[in-house]
Symmetry: C2
Subunit: 129 residues, 2 copies
DNA sequence: TTAGGAAATGCAACTAAATTGCATTAAATT
DNA sequence: AATTTAATGCAATTTAGTTGCATTTCCTAA
């Protein structure tokens, strides 16, 4: 039986993501946690949290991976995210729009496993500036 | 006035993308064109073609950038792609489903500029294997 | 409460992808 | 054909992510 442990670094990163209202990249997390743990450790913690269904990856439109908490995932079944992400070109923030679920009609014989919907543009915070 | 030139390498890459029925990554293009031009040149040609509205970028679910021809874009206005992309986890192919346009309802004050919709799963070619 | 096994970490080295500067080459216009 | 400037090649550099291994730290069972 493989077990997972609660370390200080893991807890810190997890609560960091929980409290953030935008998705965070590895680099953003690194500058945030500072000297708390090593660069490599952050990679491994993020992998673990994804594995455990605590957070999910969002591939931003510029290719940078961002991380955000999950709401309905666990470690048993695979990630299930059908919501839209919004990527702001001004402030570079990525947010989960958990309530926005797009609909589409696929041709036959496509078997969908995962979904990545990202809109880019100006977010409400930046639209007034 | 900035002008753009038709070089052999550019033409080769352009027709390569036109004739492919899947989107191609930089690496795939590189192995295809072989010694025709330098690695770096491929990067620059792809950037130019995107700039000119000939091709568009697709960020695959694994973060790899793929390129596919545009149908309704030009160099004057920005890229306008609202179609779905399908990424097959078996054969690693990415295809444009130009006829599949998802619908969604955004909260107010979001100003959408570009769209990146990618579904991953099993494509029709691989579903029988 | 602690002793021991396994998970997690740090560090250094490595790999892969993409970018930059600069000298050289080759389109396109006259 | 001459000219000018976009495009290319090459080498070096940056950036992101991975791997191996020794060490540390967590957690459970005695």
């Amino acid at each position: 039986m493989k077990s997972t442990r609660n370390t200080t670094a893991k807890s810190a990163i997890q609560s960091l993501l929980q409290q953030s209202n935008t998705a965070l990249s590895h680099k953003e997390i690194q500058t945030e946690v500072g000297e708390l743990c090593n660069r490599v450790t952050i990679y491994r913690i993020l992998d673990r949290l994804v594995e455990e269904g605590e957070i999910h990856k969002i591939i931003n439109t510029d290719g940078v991976i961002k991380y955000a908490p999950c709401h309905q995932c666990d470690s048993n079944h695979q990630h299930n995210h059908d919501h839209v992400h919004f990527s702001c070109v001004k402030c570079d923030s990525v947010t989960c729009l958990d309530n926005v679920q797009p609909s589409y009609n696929l041709p036959p014989n496509y078997q969908v496993q995962e979904v990545n919907f990202t809109l880019s543009g100006i977010c409400p915070n930046c639209i007034t500036c």
